[in-house]
Symmetry: C2
Subunit: 338 residues, 2 copies
């Protein structure tokens, strides 16, 4: 890839796709050529990246995918299922944002700060990125586990509507506006009104009553941290916030881990920034995390209800580190290896 | 009190005060006389309750508090500290909503569905009601503890702005409106913008980094459940919701407790309603809980990360069961005893 990398973005006009183009530009990605794919509705429009304008093509089974080095997919599960293997067969390394391939043993699930070496084991030509709540969680857990060995993790998430996509962001805005105009808020994307409300459901429910996001957090964290027996449980909740996901994380470790030590470990961890002077008003929040690359961690404090307990609170931009940034970082690993 | 009860409401024009008058009316409280107190700003206005109109008096140290049977206080800590003992000295039984007296061993801390007998042990003439997150929590924990013995509780709260009071509700509305008008949202009540944001802070911080609400949940739950050693930890978060607090609760019990059994126990518990058919879209949320008396519990499911683990999710109207309703119910216990 010495003369530059040929990139394709599938789902280019979506919330994550747009973010990908921005990040390629910010990181001065060594781009040789860019192909943008979207649905028929968006095809034909132009998008800017790295000083040039690129036309959006319609994604169809007939499209010619030859000559693509790396393809980012961030669309629907169905699109990933159909076009992931197709792009890989045409020679691209696919970096996929869906849950379709994540638990496939032949597909690495990669967070560059946690398990970068896995990126080179894409036996099917596909690399998955984790869901947007797992990524910041494992980034905070990794350094603490290395120092003190995780015993158990209990996590509750506060997830913004942008995790669902652009339509959900519009829905939160439209519902809020409707309420101010004394109109009935229209409910389309979510099962209930999200404006000024909380929905304890992300995805669909299993027979045991877990929702799919909760199951993803458990399974994906285990795979990325390479701790198949990790004791972890999750509760996932949608909140009326536009962007950034927050998580309340309670951990128990085998060895003692003082909050000061935990803060040092987190400060030293790649991609993690500690914001933890609560009395001075310094703690992670969605608004100041928006558009930022780091996973922000704070409210680190001892939990006296178990021998080695710790509570912490994190905030991370779900469209960046939770999706587009993580994918571009994986592409950078691949480029570097060539 | 055979000819009716003489009630005083201190903080009558506040969010909780107004709710108290509504609940006295709903419950056809045997009222003989009602005195309403508020700050100078609100004094002079009239409020309706039980078919009559009552004038709001200014609360001053010179006020004559004689002839009051039961006084509800829901104002500031300072008001409770000053007027609680003053009203008790004048012969009233004070039912106080502040945190000032809650941990006083001579002051009972009462949730009628959990420890009603304590209401008769008001050695100082003062009964405290718990903070608005503790009340629904102990109501859900009590039946589970009786059946399976609590081993540990990890709770994360999602608290609406009405917990802070009427000014905070106005602030969330004003900030939201400002954003739609492309104006800078004004920040007055909270340290940061609450509209479309999350604040992991309720109250002020201790040296250990816990905020006062987290400490209250721990201490008050132990006192009400009469489990001084209960292993419990809390993380409390303000969310951009107008009314009702939600809680993500993870428990471990000594004995096995199947989710079906937990649901049965919760369904049978006074004041608790189970909403738990997630696949059919039935789970607790703030909007449908608003104005309701019950604590709604759902998302009950096994947590496989410990031998006897259970996750659950609850929603409760913080102005009703979390405050005014709990206080009126205590008054009803006192009236019944006479």
């Amino acid at each position: 890839m010495s003369s530059g990398v040929r990139i394709a973005v599938i789902g280019a006009t979506g919330a994550v796709g747009k973010e990908s183009l921005e990040i390629l530009e910010e990181r001065k990605f060594p781009l040789a050529h860019l192909r943008l794919f979207a649905s028929k509705r968006s095809a034909g429009q132009s998008m800017k990246c790295l000083g040039r304008s690129w036309k959006v093509e319609e994604l169809t089974p007939d499209a010619d995918f030859s000559g693509i080095d790396i393809a980012f997919i961030s669309a629907t599960d169905d699109i990933s299922r159909e076009y992931g293997p197709r792009l890989a067969a045409a020679g691209a390394t696919v970096i996929d944002d869906s849950s379709v391939f994540r638990m496939d043993p032949q597909v690495p699930l990669v967070v560059p700060e946690v398990n970068p070496e896995s990126a080179h084991q894409a036996q099917r030509g596909i690399i998955s990125i984790p869901n947007c709540t797992t990524t910041p969680l494992v980034m905070a857990l990794k350094p603490l586990h290395e120092a003190a060995t995780l015993r158990r993790v209990v996590v509750t998430t506060f997830q913004s509507v942008s995790g669902t996509g652009a339509a959900a962001m519009e829905e939160l805005m439209a519902q809020t506006r409707a309420l101010f105009l004394f109109k009935e808020p229209e409910v389309k994307v979510y099962p209930y009104q999200i404006a000024f409300n909380l929905l304890p459901q992300i995805g669909s429910f299993s027979e045991d009553g877990d929702c799919s996001e909760e199951i993803k957090i458990v399974n994906e964290s285990r795979k990325i941290l390479d701790l198949p027996q990790l004791r972890i449980t999750a509760t996932t909740v949608r909140v009326p916030v536009m962007r950034c996901h927050c998580e309340s994380v309670n951990i128990e470790t085998e060895k003692p881990l003082h909050p000061d030590h935990a803060r040092e470990l987190l400060s030293a961890a790649d991609g993690v920034a500690v914001q933890d002077e609560p009395s001075a008003g310094l703690y992670p929040m969605p608004l100041p995390s928006t558009g930022k690359d780091e996973v922000f961690v704070g409210r680190v404090r001892a939990d006296a209800s178990v021998p080695h307990g710790l509570n912490l609170w994190l905030s991370s931009d779900n469209l960046r580190k939770g999706a587009a940034l993580n994918a571009v970082q994986i592409a950078q690993i691949l480029v570097k290896a060539h």
